[in-house]
Amino acid sequence: MNGAWLLLDLVLVPMILAAALCAVGARAQFTGIVFYIVYGLLLALAWVRLGAENVALAEAAIGAGLTGVLLLGALARLPAAAPAEPGADGSPGTALRLAAAILCAALALGLGAAVLALPEPAPGLADVAAAHLPATGLGNPVTAVLLVWRGYDTLLEVVVLLLALLGVWSLTPDPLWGGVPGPRHRTRPEGVLVFLGRVLPPAGLLVGAHVFWAGADRPGGAFQAGTILAAVWLLAIMAGLTDAPAVRGLALRLVLVGGPAVFLGVGLAGLATAGAFLGYPPDFVKPLVVLVEAALTLSIAVTLGLLVAGAPERPPR
């Protein structure tokens, strides 16, 4: 058994490193980004290999999906860069590069040594988590960590997401405030893009719902589902089938704050019902978690979609 897995590792790890090196070192930025997209895919494979399907789902949707699209979109909209000459555009000369390379190699080696020096047997919380899992009624320990035991992290994290969106919106030129993010996409009617935009969103809705539902007991959950929904929404926008919403809309804003607000509300209600902030009354853990996740999924989907769409560029309709 180990032989084949080792072979796989010995192929996969060098590929990851090669993709990363090329993403950093490729001469053209476009090439670097394509390598980064491939790198995200390879990482998703690594997560599957390590038995971390929850993470693999997130990486597949975010690392290989949204981040790549974000970077590609940005590159297409940046002004053409002048031909790169070392030093001309603020990039360091050879000596500095060498110094940086030595520093980074030393850091990587030190980090590697620290990894090798980690104690054996390795400490961890897997057993503690397994012992507490039945009390939650959930089957997926990662969901239990994210929404029950370390729900506070997750609450702050969804606030981070919303805050990033406010940050992106804060870059709107003043006359366009309240307007619509991104350009209006044009497509050939009955063309391939339109076809894709028609077929994939319903499929994505289905897959997203599946990942969301599975999340309570098997790998999946609000973040993965939200990302999938965001991706197919963006696809429908790029296919010109629908337009991004104007950011001044009250309904949109309520959807955006809805997830975090429900989470915070349930958390504060926990003060009364469970005697602790972000606590759940013993018999209602699973239904409350599913409620919070449902609200979060919607908010995350819309927030992520708008994050990638960027700052408003068109005046409100």
Binding site: L107, G112, L125, V168
Partner: protein
Amino acid sequence: MTDAATLYGLCGAALVGIGLYGLIVQAPLLRKILAFNLIGSGVFLLLGAIAERAAPGRGDPVPHALIITGIVVALSATALAVALLLRLAGATGRSTLSPEPPPPAPGERNGG
């Protein structure tokens, strides 16, 4: 399985180094943003290896949850950085930061 965990842990360490190199050396801001993402995913791989070491075969769920949180946080930061970069390029035509801090603006422009 522990061997695999160590291998991926070392891979994560190398990725942190590669990403940091890119962040320091590359001038175009988009490349810096990309390099930052490489460092981030290197750290996540490190955490994944730690999860696998702690509970071979099933994985420690706590680091897995931390990674998912980290991935979302990294995406948020990336989106903000990209938006800032596009706005910077739109306003000044630049897509790099010059090594010196930008010269102070004339006071008159600060009035409003």
